[in-house]
């Protein structure tokens, strides 16, 4: 990496002006920025050319960070709901931090001593789950999750359970070397600036870019081909492509044989407890979280079963065999082949709306490019079985996908299909294909496991197990003796067994209903759960203020840690004002979501460029302090005194275990910063990050950069640096035995745990070891004649969720939102461009304005996400367009499915992972009455500014005059 010794104060600018580097957090992409500060005020923000992630580029949000810093929506004081006032009435009084800590210490201390599960901690768009998760674990509550469950857990789980890594922050397409690129269901995504940089280079190099999406916006605008698809049907498309790839023999056979379980023999004995399990030549206690290399292949040469990876053996991928003991078996690939037999392009055409011809052509393009345009890099490496290779080979077809697949309740299986397609083409961690980013790949599934039962939850004791983990079989579920949920969000129960990120979207509803039990205190951090991150927002807002027969709130105490006056802040009993990203220390840690590159681990930090506003306190400092006050073991010394002064100190000195040498940051470890990845704490670590553009980049030797699932050198290195526990190869799960274990349990073919009766059918259906396509759950339960349309949201490039409406610059670009509809749809339904319409689902309805667009599939309507706001929030006046013309689609999306045989209150989520099915909702759209007001519905009573917020709303005019913010933006 290019390092610049004094990048933070590079150029001597005018007096009192400094340029400091830190990391952007106008979105989770985390670009390196240079902030020019004059007289203690931010003047402007530029991209940092020396940063490996964005290489100097910036986006509209990043450049507008200054207006967020000085937004009138900033909270500046800890606030307590005024005694005697109603929750949600907006009456708060300023209190001191001391008092705030006192309140929390008393309340949480009592809960921890009596019933720790009554404290629930849920966090939204943060990037420090390592810290918050640790706090929850130490506290002893099972009720912790971050936003992943409503975000893209399907993507994480679907891919990690298949290839040991995923898109999202942990891997991506190698566009530098790719020739053909498919972007499926992505509008903007997390890796946004790098993705833009790479896409443009890719196109300049003559690469071909195909976008598969019901809507053509964002990245898809520059696609060479746009393939509109009906929402929720990508599984059918992908399976048809797989059908064609297998039929024509376009798959990379060597890759499948050597690096996947395609050739492994599956026991086909009908009705047995082993049915659908791999055959093993020895059955030792399978310890740890890796696949022991004890499966069988069928040798083509000798025509006998033989232990996998026997030197020189070439196994069959297809066929049917019988072992000597009469056990019938088939290679996993044969099962896949049979599975896709009927999934013809013609079949998929009827489901996806994509002409069979197009599907076939795209499959052929993938096949031909991957087969005929191979890349061979002269990089020697050794595989996990000890075989040396002279080169690294790549098949330059790549994919990227996100919530367009993930946010459907069939997403997990669809994403399995995508991962398998990528594998068939031989593109996993190879040049021009998919590439991992440290700390991935991880074993399938990764090692951390959730607790297993009530025994793991005890007063005054840390939780036994990780609050979030990766179940490998039914025994890893977190359920009581009846097989019912222990977590508030019902994660890791039979309802959503692989809910590896929890189900934050059901936390409030469940707490309100007291199902599985009532809680006492709900702490929400950086999550706007009373608005855009909850489904069924209208009802959820009522739940937050609902009372029981005794007149007590059903959710007795709500703590909100936020930096701005969001909709959720209104519902807090105690409000903790957080700092802005320019005012605090943050770590983008290897223990969490680092910003690694394909060539090796990268982590980065934020270092304050200006002091906190008012009495804002970094939430991490609050966690560290609360940890000490509550005497959580990791946060105190043996004598009970606080171990860490604050978060900065925590980062410096925390080690995963005493003397482990592993901390939150991997760079400049060791006494004087001479070590990396692992080493004793370095008292000057922050300064060293500061000197190096706030980023640490460890470039792996070339021979460790590819084929990492099976690269002995890499796996050793990863193990040596404690990145992973085992250095076993990570073979791709074309066929998922893990899913089969759940299915067997549902069929009663197990000695272990079995699902409750009502869920047997559901588990049996959706835990299919092979990918399949099914209609999203909501569609199965909706009258689709009545609600024929799919309604989607997308990320606008210039706004991050709900939090940019406060930004005077960005809100000019998106002041309100429209419902985009195909003109054909509008005309058939009697409304015109710009008309006011109702969007109605079986759960609710919203009035909004529509806009005709030719870039949307006629069965789909969509809008930009989270532009609509509740009146008076976000430092805006009650009449701001965001609340009068803007709308939130969430009102028509339900957090629960209609009652059906699998349960009364099942989450509107993927039955495998609990991923929120945002994009499953079915709606109809009709013209609003001529007598109806031209204003969006629903409307909420305007809230007023909070104590400590800039008292006067800014005037009619605001001139951006650098360094003049304190002078109230005077005209002169």
């Amino acid at each position: 990496m290019k390092t610049n010794p004094d990048s933070r104060e590079q150029t001597s600018l005018a007096q009192g002006t400094e340029v400091k580097t830190t990391t952007c957090y106008m979105c989770a992409c985390r670009c390196g920025i240079k902030v020019t500060v004059k007289d203690g005020e931010v003047r402007y923000i530029q991209g940092n050319p020396d940063h490996p992630l964005n290489k100097g580029v910036l986006c509209a949000k990043g450049a507008s960070g200054i207006m967020k810093q000085y937004s009138p929506a900033r909270l500046t004081k800890p606030l307590l709901r005024k005694p005697g006032t109603e929750r949600g009435a907006g009456e708060f009084e300023e209190i001191s931090w001391d008092k705030a800590f006192g309140i929390m210490e008393e309340r949480l201390g009592k809960l921890r001593a009596e019933d720790p599960k009554k404290f629930a901690l849920f966090t939204g768009r943060d990037q420090m789950q390592a810290l918050t998760g640790m706090f929850a674990k130490q506290f002893g509550t099972p009720n912790y999750a971050a936003h992943g469950g409503f975000c893209s857990v399907n993507m994480a789980a679907g891919m990690i359970y298949t290839i040991g890594g995923s898109f999202w922050e942990f891997g991506g397409p190698d566009l530098e070397r790719s020739k053909l690129f498919f972007m499926i269901g992505t509008a903007e995504d997390h890796h946004s600036n790098p993705m833009k940089v790479e896409l443009s280079q890719f196109k300049r190099n003559g690469g071909r870019f195909v976008a598969i999406n019901p809507v053509r916006t964002g990245y898809a605008a520059i696609a060479d081909e746009w393939v509109p698809i009906k929402p929720g049907t990508d599984g059918a498309f992908l399976l048809a492509v797989i059908h064609e790839i297998i039929k024509l023999g376009f798959y990379d056979r060597d890759f499948l044989v050597n690096y996947t379980n395609a050739a492994e023999l599956v026991d086909m004995t009908p009705g047995s407890m082993e049915e659908g399990m791999f055959l093993r030549f020895e059955v030792p206690e399978e310890e740890g979280c890796f696949d022991p290399q004890n499966k069988l292949w069928w040798d083509r040469e000798l025509d006998i079963p033989i232990s996998m990876h026997t030197e020189g053996v070439d196994p069959y991928l297809t066929g049917e065999f019988t072992l000597d003991d009469g056990t019938p078996c088939k290679p996993a690939f044969q099962l896949l082949k049979e599975r896709v037999e009927d999934y013809t392009p013609e079949w998929a055409e009827g489901i996806t709306g994509i002409p069979a011809e197009t599907i076939r052509r795209l499959a052929h393009e993938m096949g031909i490019v991957s087969r005929d345009q191979k890349i061979e890099l002269p990089i020697q490496w050794t595989d996990a079985w000890g075989k040396d290779h002279d080169s690294v080979v790549g098949n330059p077809v790549s994919f990227h996908s996100m919530r367009g697949l993930a946010a459907h309740s069939n997403g997990f299986q669809t994403i399995r299909a995508l991962s398998i397609l990528m594998t068939l083409l031989g593109t996993i961690d190879r040049p021009g294909g998919f590439r991992h980013k440290a700390p991935f790949p991880r074993p399938i599934p990764p090692c951390p496991k959730p607790p297993k039962g009530w025994d793991d939850v005890k007063p005054n004791t840390p939780l036994n197990g990780m609050p979030l983990g990766w179940p490998a079989d039914p025994d890893d579920l977190f359920v009581d003796d009846n097989g019912e949920a222990i977590r508030l969000d019902k994660g890791f129960s039979w309802e959503y067994p692989l809910s590896v990120h929890g189900l934050m979207h059901n936390a409030i509803t469940n707490a309100w209903r007291g199902d599985p039990y009532p809680i006492d205190t709900l702490l929400l951090f950086m999550a706007n759960m009373a608005w855009n991150s909850s489904m069924n927002t209208n009802e959820v807002r009522k739940m937050l203020v609902d009372k029981d027969e005794n007149g007590d709130y059903k959710i007795p105490f709500i703590i909100v840690a936020d930096a701005y006056h969001s909709e959720t802040v209104e519902f807090g009993d105690l409000i903790l004002p957080d700092t802005s990203y320019l005012e605090r220390h943050d770590a983008m840690s290897m223990l969490d979501r680092p910003i690694s590159e394909y060539d090796g681990p990268v982590d980065s930090v934020r270092i304050p460029v200006i002091p906190p506003k008012g009495e804002c306190k970094p939430f991490q400092d609050v966690i560290v302090e609360m940890g000490a006050r509550l005497k959580l073991p990791s946060f105190i010394r043996e004598d009970g005194s606080p171990k860490y002064r604050d978060y900065r100190d925590f980062i410096l000195n925390f080690e995963t275990a005493p003397g482990s040498g592993i901390g939150f940051l991997a760079g400049w470890r060791g006494k004087s910063g001479e070590k990396s990845m692992k080493g004793e704490p370095n008292p000057n670590q922050w300064e060293m990050y500061e000197k190096n553009n706030c980023v640490f980049h460890y470039e792996l030797p070339k021979s460790f950069q590819y084929m990492r699932n099976w690269n002995r050198g890499y796996l050793h290195w990863a193990q040596e640096h404690n990145m992973t526990r085992y250095d076993e190869p990570i073979n791709v799960h074309i066929y998922s035995e893990i899913l089969q274990k759940f299915r067997l349990a549902a069929q009663g073919k197990t000695n272990g745990r079995q699902p409750p009766e009502r869920l047997r059918k559901r588990i049996e259906t959706y835990f299919d070891p092979l990918p399949f396509h099914h209609e999203p759950l909501e569609s199965q339960l909706t009258d689709t004649q009545k609600y024929p349309l799919n309604a989607l949201t997308q990320r606008p490039m210039a706004m991050y969720h709900s939090w940019d409406s406060q930004n005077a610059w960005l809100r000019q670009i998106h002041t309100h939102n429209y419902l985009y509809v195909n003109p054909v749809l509008g005309r058939n339904n009697g409304f015109d461009d710009g008309d006011w319409v109702w969007v109605e689902s079986m759960h609710g309805k919203v009035r909004c304005m529509c806009r005709f667009s030719e870039s949307v599939e006629p069965g789909t309507v969509w809008t930009w996400n989270a532009i609509g706001k509740a009146s008076g929030t976000w430092g805006l006046t009650p009449n701001a367009n965001e609340s009068k013309k803007g709308f939130l689609l969430n009102h028509v999306i339900s957090e629960e499915l209609p009652p059906h045989e699998a349960g009364e209150h099942l989450s509107n989520s993927d039955p495998v992972t609990g991923q929120a099915g945002w994009y499953d909702v079915r709606v109809r759209v009709y013209k609003a009455g001529a007598d109806e007001p031209e204003i969006t519905s629903p409307q909420y009573k305007a809230v007023k500014p909070l104590p400590g917020m800039e008292s006067k709303r800014r005037g009619k005019w605001q001139a951006y005059v650098a360094g003049k913010f304190r002078k109230k933006m005077g005209l002169k």
Binding site: Q812, I813, T815, Y818, S853, E854, N881
Partner: protein, 330 residues
């Protein structure tokens, strides 16, 4: 374009002021060259000039409202080599002064012949000053007209008709005002002015109609394809980069419905041309007294209001190619 009231007042007021002066001077010429019976009415010229200068002054005053930084208005004369606006800024005070001087000359009675033409007509200072003021007036008309006429992108304006119309409309309204003024002062010139006013109003009407016919036939030179450089018949804007409008959406578009614009069109045809024509013709039939003053005053007021409407329409009618980039708010 968005019609700014300051500009509507500026152009109509100075036009009327200039026209009024031309009327005064025409009257003087006709008398002095004995084209009509000579009368001695210095008061009429003095007061007429004063009214003319007053109109110009109010116009000038109105124009300041158009400037963002009126305190810097003095700078605006700088670029007379290239800018018609600069030229107007120069021509306007000159005209004003010339007319004022013309009025002053009458006031001070500088009517002794300085020399005689071969035809024996005495040329006095008022005549010389009037001649000079006439030149200035026409120069000012040309400058004002050219401010609009010279912008190629506004095809509705980019025609000699723009200057001609400015001249004719200004002149017509000036003569109508002169008629009223003359009637008010009870001079003998009332019918003379009324006849000329009828003539100019008719001519202006013809030319204004001509320009409207021309404008209706204009094929815009730019279209969506040339604007963004993509050749396709179905180009539609979906977002213009800001949702609540910008300078670009406010300055170049009147923001009114088409029906409103058409209404304004009929209003101005009625008020600026038909009403004054009828009233002026009526006035020809009235010999003298109060009634002719009332009738001609109404004619002048109607015509002025009509011209305001005409000027509004003049702006609203002009389609700026930049609007191609600002079609849809989202």
């Amino acid at each position: 374009m968005h019609p700014a009231f300051s500009v509507l007042f500026l152009t109509t007021l100075i036009g009327a002021g200039q026209g009024l002066f031309l009327a005064l001077f025409t009257g003087q010429i006709f008398q002095q060259f004995k084209l009509m019976p000579e009368q001695h009415e210095p008061d009429f010229y003095v007061i007429g000039s004063a009214v003319s200068v007053a109109l110009l002054l109010i116009g000038l005053f109105a124009s300041f409202f158009h400037l963002g930084r009126p305190e810097r208005a003095w700078r605006s004369a700088a670029q007379w080599r290239t800018s018609w606006l600069s030229r107007e800024v120069i021509a306007l005070p000159i005209t004003m002064f010339a007319i004022a001087a013309y009025g002053a000359a009458h006031y001070f009675g500088l009517t002794h012949a300085l020399f005689f033409t071969p035809g024996g007509t005495g040329i006095d200072a008022t005549l010389l000053l009037g001649l000079f003021a006439t030149i200035a007036t026409y120069a000012l008309f040309v400058c004002t007209g050219m401010i609009y006429g010279c912008i190629r992108f506004l095809q509705e304006w980019h025609t000699p008709l723009t200057v001609i119309n400015f001249i004719l409309l200004g002149t017509a309204s000036g003569f109508t005002i002169a008629t009223a003024l003359s009637a008010w002062m009870g001079t003998e010139l009332t019918h003379f002015y009324a006849s000329w006013a009828i003539f100019f109003t008719l001519t202006a009407f013809v030319f204004r109609i001509a320009s409207m016919i021309r404008n209706r036939k204009i094929k815009p030179k730019s279209d969506m394809n040339s604007a963004i450089g993509v050749r396709h018949s179905g180009v539609q804007q979906k977002a213009q980069g800001s949702m609540c409008g910008s300078f670009n959406t406010r300055e170049y578009f009147h923001g009114k419905k088409a029906t409103f614009v058409t209404t304004i069109k009929y209003i101005f045809i009625f008020l600026a041309f038909l009403t004054p024509l009828v009233l002026l013709i009526m006035s020809l039939g009235i010999s003298s007294g109060e009634s002719i003053f009332v009738v001609s005053l109404f004619a002048a007021i109607a015509q002025y209001l009509g011209l305001l409407a005409e000027r509004w329409y003049f702006f609203a009618d002009a389609r700026h190619p930049q609007n191609l980039y600002y079609q849809q708010v989202s």
